[in-house]
Every structure is written in structure tokens, then in C-alpha cells.
Symmetry: C2
Subunit: 84 residues, 2 copies
């Protein structure tokens, strides 16, 4: 199953009533341990790019970062402001 199918499968039926959302997932599957992580810095640059395209309030961004030996994952969830 592709990740695209996963997004579709889990989309709630109430989506049309909800605010617009933007979700970004970055997963890095590492071959070597103990190599420095660039995801925190990457996160800042991704946010700078996103802000060029959509209005984002800092309060509407939730960030989740997880790391283990061979995988690190960065998750950005952004609720976009309503527009007319």
C-alpha cells in the first residue's frame, strides 16, 4: 500500500467541514548510526518555504520529531486560515 492510499484511507468524512490543512512528513531512513541529523535545520527551511505559499500562524503549527537508531521522522501539521 502506498502512502498516498494511507492519506486517503484515513481522511475523515468531516474533512469538507474542517479548515484547510497542510501536512508535511519527512522520514529519513539512515544507513549509519550516529550521523548528525539535519532534520531540525531542514524543518526551519521548510517552514520558510511554506510561508511563501500559504498564510501560516505560528499558533497553528504543530511539530513532532522522533528519532531512533535508523529512522528519524519530522511531522508538521498546519491548520491554514480561512479565506473567502
Amino acid at each position: 500500500m502506498s502512502l498516498l492510499n494511507y492519506f486517503k484511507r484515513t481522511k475523515p468524512n468531516t474533512a469538507r467541514l474542517a479548515k484547510e490543512r497542510l501536512q508535511i512528513l519527512v522520514a529519513h531512513e539512515r544507513s549509519a548510526r550516529n550521523q548528525p541529523s539535519y532534520l531540525p535545520e531542514l524543518q526551519k527551511e521548510l517552514m520558510a518555504v511554506i510561508k511563501k505559499y500559504v498564510q501560516v500562524n505560528q499558533d497553528d503549527i504543530s511539530i513532532n520529531y522522533e528519532s531512533d537508531d535508523d529512522q528519524e521522522t519530522l511531522e508538521l501539521n498546519i491548520v491554514l486560515p480561512e479565506h473567502d
Copy 2:
């Protein structure tokens, strides 16, 4: 179930033998139809940011873009070159 769990659940057992991979997913859940999509342009800028952090060969990037009425999804799969 969070998306983070999804990543972990689907990680193959052969991951440690594989090359490093970077995967980026951008999902935009829209409240209004017919609004212009910014994901193709966003994709170019994301790639420019990624290339600042990791060596990426164009041949090692696969891109998948899907769109329907209220959801568009951009998927970037990048196989990173081996390093010593």
C-alpha cells in the same frame, strides 16, 4: 494511529541493508474546490532545500503527485548516495 506509527509499521526488515532514503510527503486538504494548486511550485522549492542538506542525484528522485476535489498529495522519494 499517527502517521509516525505508519512509517514505523511499514519499514521493511531489510531497511538496514538498503541505501539511505529520504521521503517527503505533503498533503493539502482543501476547503474550497477550484483553488489553484501551489504544490508543483512548492515541490521545486522543497527540492532546492533538500539539496542543501544531502547529495541528491536527479535519477534517484521519484515524484508522485495526486489530486482530487478536496485533497492533493505530493510524494517525494529520494535514494541517497552511499557515504563512507
